[in-house]
Amino acid sequence: MTKQQGKDLVRAIKTAGKRVVIRHMIRFAILGLIMALALTTLIHIISFFLPIEAVWTLSLATLPLVLVFLIIGWILKPDTKEIALEIDKHGLQEKAITAYELSGREDVYARLQGKDTLDSLKAFNRKKISIKVNKLYYYVIIGLVIAISLLNIIANPMDDIIRDRKKVQALIDGELDKLHEYIDDIALEEELTQEQKEALKQELDDLAEKLKDLKDYREGLKEFSKTEEKLTEALEQIRKEKLDKLIDLLDDHDITGELADALEDGDSQILDQAIKEIKDKLADQKLGDQAKKDLAEALEGLAQGTGSRSLEEKLKSLIESLESGNDVSQIAEGLKEILDSQLETGQGSGDLKYSLQQLRNRLSRAIDDNEKIAHKGDGGKDNKPSGDGQGDGDGDDQGQANGDGQGQDGGDGNGDGNGDGQGQDGGDGNGDGNGDGQGQGNGSGQGNGDGNGQGSGIGSGATGYETIYDPSRLGDGGEESQVPGQNTGQGQIDSKDNMGLGNLDGYIPYGQVISEYEKEAVQSMNRRALPAGIETLVRDYFSSLED
C-alpha cells in the first residue's frame, strides 16, 4: 500500500465513520443526562431524610454533568481503528480494519486489499450507520423523570423542618439587627469608659459575626452563652473597679466611713443602717459644720465620678439642699439611690445582658420547636419523655413594680419614673419584672412615680423533652435546659419525669446540696443585674433554709 493510498484510506474511513463519532457523542450526552437525573433523584431521596433547603438548586447544579460527559466523550471518541471496525459491521466484511492494519505494507496483498477497501468505502452508504442509541437509555431517562416527579408529588416531611429552620434563621437575622442596635446603644453609655465600651462592643461584634454564618443553631446558643459569660466577667470587673473607687471616696470622710465599710463588706443591712443614721442626723440637725462639709465633699466627689449627667445633676441638687438646709431629709434617700445606682454596674449594660439572655431564650425556643418537628414520628424510639406540657409557663404571672418617680421640672408637673418590677409567679416559675414608672411631678420639680411592672414568669410544665435542673442556670428565670446528645433510638430512658427542684425523691440529702445551690444562686446574682430587692429575697430564702 502506497503512502498516498494509506492517507486516502484513513481519510475515507474517517469520512465514512462520521456518524460513528456523532453516535458516540450522543451516547455520552445521554449518559451525562442520566447521571444528572440520577443524582437529582438521589438528592430528592436524601431530602426525605435530611432537610435540604436548595433541592432544586442542587439538582440544577448537576446539569453541567452533561457537559462534562461530552468532554469525556470527546476525549474518548473512537479512533480510526475503532471506526474501521464499526464500518466493517455494515457489510464491509472487515475490509476497513484489515486495510488499516496493512498500512505501511507494500506487498501485493496490501495493495490489492487497500484498493478494494477504498472502492468499497466510496460506495459505502453512510446512513447504514445508525446514530440511534440503545433504547434502554431512553427508558432509564423516562424512569428517572417519573421518579423525580413522584418524589416531588409525595409530601416531604423535611419541608416542615426547612420551613421552621427558615423561621429560626429569620429570627436570628432579626436578633442580629437588635444586636447591632445594642452595639450602638453601648456607645451612648455614659457610665462606661471608652475602653470598656470598646471591649463590650467587640464582644457583641464577634457574636454578631458568628451568628451571621451560623450553620448549627446549637452552636449559636453556645456562642450566646459564651458572650454572656464574657460580658458578665467584663461587667463584674467594671463593677468592682467602681466599687473600689466609691469605697475609697467614702472612706476619706468620717461621716461616710461607715458607708464605705458597709460597701466593702457587701452587707446591705449595715449599709441601710448607715444611711439611716445619716438620715437621722440630718433630720435631727445633729450634723456639725465639719460633718456637713465632709458630706458635701463626699457628694461632690461622687458627682465627679458618676459619669452620668443626670446623677451629677441630682448630686448637685443634694449638695445645694445640704448647704441651704432645705429638704435635708431627702439627702439620705438621694444618697442611697445614688449608691444603689452606682453599684448596679451600668444599668444600660445590665439591660444589654438581660436582652442577650432574652435573645438566647427566643432562639432556644425556636430551635426546640424545630427539633420537635424533626423528631416527630420517632415515637417510642425517642429516649426523651414525651408529654403534653408546654415549655412556657402558664402560671399566673403578676408583675408588681415599685416605682419611684422622679419629676423633672418642666413647669407642667410631668415626671418620668424608673421602676423596678418584681414578678410573682403563680406557677412554679419566678418572674422578673421591669417596670417603667410614670411620675407626676409637682411644680417644684419633684415627682412621685407610680411604677407599672410587667412580669414574665416561666413555669415548669412537662415538655416533649426532659427538663432537668441545671444549677448553672439558676437565676435565668427557671428556663428549661435540655440533655445534649443524639437520639439513636436505642438505649434506655434513664430520666425521671418531674425530677425538678423540690422533687428529688429523697435520694440526695438536702443538707449536702443546699450550700452548693446557695453558692450558685449568689454567683448567678453576681453575674446578672438584679434589683437589690430580689437579691435580698434570694438571700433570705437560703438563710431560712439554713435555719
Partner: protein, 328 residues
C-alpha cells in the same frame, strides 16, 4: 513476478469456481460439502466425511481426483487390515543373479489423494498407522522415512449408523483431520436429480481443471491472505471458549463439554478462513469466514460428556452457542 502473483490472486476465485462446477456435474446436493472439501484440500488439510452409505462419498473423492488430475487410491478399511497393508512393507526380493535383498513395497498411501473408506472399521493399530501419513506426509518403515508425493490429502469416510464392530477414531487421530464434514441425506429435488443423472446412458464426466502443482500454488497464494488482528483474536477466542471451566468458557461448554479443541483447531480455522476469503473474492479474512469454518474445524475436536449425549446435543450446537455469545 508481482503481476503473476496478482493474477493468481485475482484468478483464485474463478479457478475454484471452475473446480466446483466440474465436481457439481457428478455430484448433486452436496455443494456445501464440495465447497468445504475444496477449502480443506487447498489448505493442505485432511477431511473426515461422515454420512450414511450411498450418499456419494466415494464418488465425490473420485471426482475430485479427476478434476484435480491427482493420483487417487482407495483403501477399504476392515478389522483385519494391517498397518503394513496400507503403508507398505519390506519384502525379500531375488534378482536374476539370485541375489536376495529387501525391497520396500509401497502401500496405497503412496498417492496424492487417499480415500480411507470406513476408516472406523479398522483396528486402532491400523488407524494409528495413518497418523504419520496424515500429519507428516511421510512413511517410516524399518527406520527409513519416505516422503509422500505432493500434494497429499487423506479423505476418510465413516458411517455413523453401523457402530457394531467399529473402532471409534482416537482423539489424536481425529485431530489430524482439518475438517469433519457431515453429509446429509439429499432432499426430494436433489434425489430426483441424482436418479436422473445416474440413469442416463451417457454421462458427461467431470473434466480436469487443474493439476497438483497448481493446487500447491493455490495453497501458497491462500496462505498469505491478510487477517486483521481482531478477526484472528475472534477465531482464537472461539477455540479457547471450547474448553470447559476456563476463564472464557460459557455455561453450555462448562455443562456439556469434556474436552475442548487443540491448537490445531485454531490453525484449521485460520487456514480455512483464508482460503474461503479468496474463494469469496476478498483479499482479507472476515468474521463470517471464521464463523463458517468454525463448525467443520471444531466439531470433531469437541468431546461432549455423557449429559450432552443423553440430551441429544451435538458439537455443532455447542459451537453455535459459543459463536452466539461471543462478541466480535
Amino acid at each position: 513476478m508481482e503481476e503473476r502473483i496478482e493474477d493468481r490472486i485475482k484468478g483464485f476465485k474463478d479457478t475454484v469456481l471452475s473446480i466446483e462446477d466440474e465436481i457439481a456435474k457428478e455430484m448433486i446436493g452436496v455443494k456445501d460439502i464440495i465447497h468445504h472439501v475444496l477449502i480443506a484440500v487447498i489448505s493442505g488439510g485432511n477431511v473426515l466425511l461422515e454420512g450414511v452409505p450411498g450418499l456419494g462419498k466415494t464418488r465425490l473423492v473420485k471426482t475430485l481426483a479427476n478434476v484435480m488430475d491427482l493420483d487417487f487410491k482407495r483403501i477399504q478399511f476392515t478389522p483385519d487390515l494391517m498397518p503394513s497393508d496400507i503403508i507398505g512393507t519390506n519384502i525379500l526380493m531375488q534378482d536374476d543373479q539370485g541375489n536376495r535383498a529387501f525391497s520396500f513395497q509401497e502401500g496405497p498411501v503412496f498417492t496424492n489423494l487417499l480415500l480411507a473408506d470406513e476408516i472406523n472399521r479398522a483396528t486402532p493399530k491400523t488407524q494409528s498407522a495413518l497418523l504419520e501419513v496424515m500429519q507428516e506426509q511421510a512413511v517410516t518403515v524399518a527406520g527409513k522415512t519416505r516422503k509422500l508425493p505432493k500434494p497429499y490429502f487423506v479423505l476418510a469416510t465413516q458411517n455413523p449408523l453401523e457402530q457394531e464392530g467399529t473402532y471409534p477414531l482416537p482423539e489424536a487421530q481425529l485431530d489430524r483431520f482439518m475438517f469433519k464434514l457431515l453429509i446429509d441425506f439429499p432432499s426430494l429435488d436433489e434425489l430426483d436429480q441424482i436418479v436422473n443423472l445416474t440413469s442416463k446412458d451417457k454421462q458427461e464426466g467431470a473434466k480436469r481443471v487443474i493439476d497438483g502443482d497448481q493446487i500447491l500454488m493455490l495453497k501458497e497464494t491462500a496462505s498469505q491472505v491478510p487477517i486483521a488482528k481482531p478477526v484472528q483474536e475472534y477465531a482464537l477466542k472461539i477455540v479457547l471458549n471450547t474448553h470447559p471451566n476456563k476463564e472464557m468458557s460459557n455455561e453450555w461448554v462448562d455443562k456439556y463439554v469434556r474436552y475442548g479443541s487443540s491448537p490445531r483447531g485454531a490453525q484449521a480455522i485460520i487456514h480455512g478462513a483464508r482460503v474461503r476469503a479468496l474463494m469469496e473474492g476478498r483479499y482479507n479474512v472476515s468474521f463470517d469466514d471464521i464463523r463458517d469454518i468454525a463448525y467443520p474445524a471444531l466439531r470433531h475436536r469437541l468431546f461432549l460428556n455423557y449429559q450432552a449425549v443423553t440430551e441429544g446435543l451435538r458439537p455443532d450446537d455447542i459451537i453455535g452457542q459459543i459463536i452466539e455469545q461471543l462478541d466480535e
